[in-house]
Each structure stands twice: as C-alpha cells, then as structure tokens.
Subunit: 273 residues, 2 copies
Amino acid sequence: MIIVGERINSTRKTITRAMQEHDSEFILNEAQRQWDAGATYLDVNTAMMRSEESQTMTWVVELIQAEIPEALIAIDSANPAAIEAGFKVHKGRALLNSINMEKDRIKSVVPLIREFRPRVVALTIDDSGVTQEEEKRFELGVRLIELLMDNDVERDDIFIDPLIFPVSAELQAGNVSLNIMGRLKEAYSDVHMICGLSNISFGLPERKLINQVYMVMAMGRGLDGAIIDPLDRRLMANITTARTLLGQDKACRGFLKTYRSGGLKLEPNPAGV
Amino acid sequence: MIIVGERINSTRKTITRAMQEHDSEFILNEAQRQWDAGATYLDVNTAMMRSEESQTMTWVVELIQAEIPEALIAIDSANPAAIEAGFKVHKGRALLNSINMEKDRIKSVVPLIREFRPRVVALTIDDSGVTQEEEKRFELGVRLIELLMDNDVERDDIFIDPLIFPVSAELQAGNVSLNIMGRLKEAYSDVHMICGLSNISFGLPERKLINQVYMVMAMGRGLDGAIIDPLDRRLMANITTARTLLGQDKACRGFLKTYRSGGLKLEPNPAGV
C-alpha cells in the first residue's frame, strides 16, 4: 500500500501562506508529521503560487529532503516548468502527480517522464473533460497504461487514478469507481490503483466516516495507493487492518506491530468519528 | 441489508442463566435493544439447554413475539425437535439458522422447511466437515442453492454463509471468503450472502476494529446479510455508510436519517475502538 500524504497542498490557505513567506518550520512540521505517520510519498502541490510555482517547488523539495533525507516527494503540478524544477532537485525517484490523456499534457509531460524516470500517477481524463461513465474511464485507464508502457515506464511504476465523484450527486458513483479499479486490476495486475478519495463524501455530513469506509471497500477491489491525510488515525488503522484481511500482511506482523505501537488505539475526533 | 441480532445465544453464560431461570426481563431487554438498534431478525440459540432445548425455544419465541409483535426470529438450532418447536409457535415467516449439506441434517430439516416455509441460512459444510478450500466451499454453496430451490425455496429466501476462518491462522482466510461470496453472487444475483463475521478476528487484538473493516469489505463483494451484535454502533454506522456507497440508498436518505437521529455520532468504546 502506497500512502501519498496530501497535506502540503497550496489549495490550503495555511500552506500558501507558508510558501509565500518561506515559513520552513511550518512546511517541515507538516512533512515530518506525515512522514512519521507512515506516508510513502509527501505530495507537494504548488498550483496556487502561480508565477512563482517553479521556484516554490524547488524550495519545498530541497527543504524537505534536507531535513528528512529518506523522504520522497510527489511532484503535484499541471505546470511543466514546475514539474521539471521539482525533478531537477529531487533525490531518489519522485512520483509525478499527474499525467492524463489531454493532448497538451501528454506533449509537455511525457518528455519529462522520459528524462527523469519518475513513478507516475495517471488520471482518467482526456480533452473531452471528466466523465461519470464507467466504460469511458476504464478505456482511458487502458490507454494511459499503454501510453506509459510505450514510454518505458514499468507497470509497477504506474498508478491509475479512476477519479471519484460524490455519491451525494450520483447514486452509482461509488460503484462505478470500484468497478473501474477492479476491471483495470484484473487486466493489469502489476499496475497500481490510486485515488484521492475525499471527493466521494462531498456534500454529506460525517465525511471522515464515509472516506474511511470507502477506502476499505476500494482496497477490497484492488486499490493499493491512496492520496490521503495520514494524520487521520482511523483511516490509517483501517488501511493496516484491511491489508491484513486481504492477505498482504504475513503472520499479521504489520497489524501486531501497529497494535503494539499504539496505532490502533483510536481516540474520537471532535466530530465523534 | 438483513441484520440478524446475535445476542440471544445460549453459548453466552448470561443467556443460559436467563433461559434456565425463565428470566423474561433479561431476555426481553436483549430483544428490545437489538430490535431498536435495527435488527431485521432476532437470533435465538438454545443449544446449551440440551434436553430442554425445545421447550426453551417455544418459551423464548413466544415471549419475544408477545412483547414485540412485529419481531421475527432466527430459529438457531441443530436439533430438529427444537427447530420444529420454534416454527410451531412463530408468527410470520421465521429465518432458519441453519441447514448445511450434511446428509442427516438435510434429512431432518428439509421436511421442516417444506412444512413451515421459513427463509433459510445455509452453511457451506458437508459430511467431510469444514474446509478452508475456496473451490469446495463455492461448490457447496451452489449445491445448497440448488437443493433449496428444488424444495421450493425462493432465491430471495436463501442466505448462503460461506464460513469465515481466522486470518491469524491462515493468511488468505479473508480473501477466500470474499471470493466465494463474489462468485456465488455473480452466479445467483438474487440469492443473499450472509455471515457471522467475528471468526475472522479470532486470535488477534482489537477484534471489533477487524470485524468492522471486514464487514465493509464483504459488503463490497456482495454480502447483504450479517449475523452480528447490532449494539456495536460503529459496525452499524459502517453498514449504513457502506450501503450508501454501494448505491443501495437512494438520495442518501438512509444515511441522512441515521445521521439526524444521532446514529453516526460514535463514542469510543472502552477499548478505544
């Protein structure tokens, strides 16, 4: 299971401020807490920095890797210059978040993938935009896998994000994404499935509960990557437990280790979840 | 989703005592709380009463239905005389818990099914005993469905229990039961899948957490019945949430109703789960 810690994201106001003011203490605190909580990658999204995106990406990537040398970064941008800036200073193999099937994106990002050889998150979107349709998104998943393999990306380095839509708006939204994951995983067992799952609960109360439950269900259908807040202790406990229940945890060692370190002792959050 | 409340079970010492002493207040309290928590059926297991099983079954079924006239009972016994005693006094359609493919069980129970027309839980066991093997249990599921249909039980009245084994003893135990459910549900979409899931967590700490997570995963693979303790509020909240995420809750009405009635406000239990 690959956990991408989502907290260093410029769509959060506190993060934009910290990026603008070069508040390294704030950024490093977010990085360290997510790393300690079990993140595999730390996502760095600089989109809201606009014209300053590239230099911000450089600054944040260097900042984090200087403090936590073993940390790997998910370079989260739609801006090829910012992506390149991140790759140039990153030590080890980064994760690119993300490519999709839009022609312009392919044209600008594939050369960077060929040059820097990151692992890659690929979203089931093309120039016709996002679609609720299962068949269309499944086909986009297939085309993305083929595109990346054609550009020498190994299957184990590909993470398909089938997109998640709010179940409050579309009754079958949860099922559709589960089916896409299940079908892609069946066709390409070595390719990873990843998602940012919080969209599923948009428009409903008790969003954490909904996300926690959907995470487990998706893992049962092949999800093995997640872009989440690793500081959500129940979400992380659910993931640990789900891995054990899916036969991914020999002799329940991971489960028991988490138990002994107190990771399964869950306090209620203020919302009671 | 069909919830069978498991608490009135003579393997619990407090229940055996109440049955022996005809402590109707104790039994009715267990019945009422489970009913109020959303049980569809109240399981009544009298096995530990041995020679007194039949008269105990009669007493408990009549006791509960006198107090809660709309309550339906799951007659939980391996003793044909006790099963018949329960059916004879039960008002409405009972649930039989359970039949399996053992020759003697078929011989003694099928005539009772034909006479009293209950809904039926069917366990994937035969005279060779229980098996960990997926293929064997899948085939037993198919044979049970065919046996019951041959005896005029409608598909919607059949609940296959694929059996659950502890993941602490067998790494693939969780996966195997998920696969059996998924395959049977694919072959017979109108037949229900049910299980008593607490066996999955045997031998591990934080059993409630494990059961709560496995429940959600199993629902994602077609489980639509569960023999559980409906007083476990998080388990029930997970079920409500999972139904919504699986497109079984139009306009999220069930979810929002449970939310408004406070059913999603979860207190930690003493173990922190």
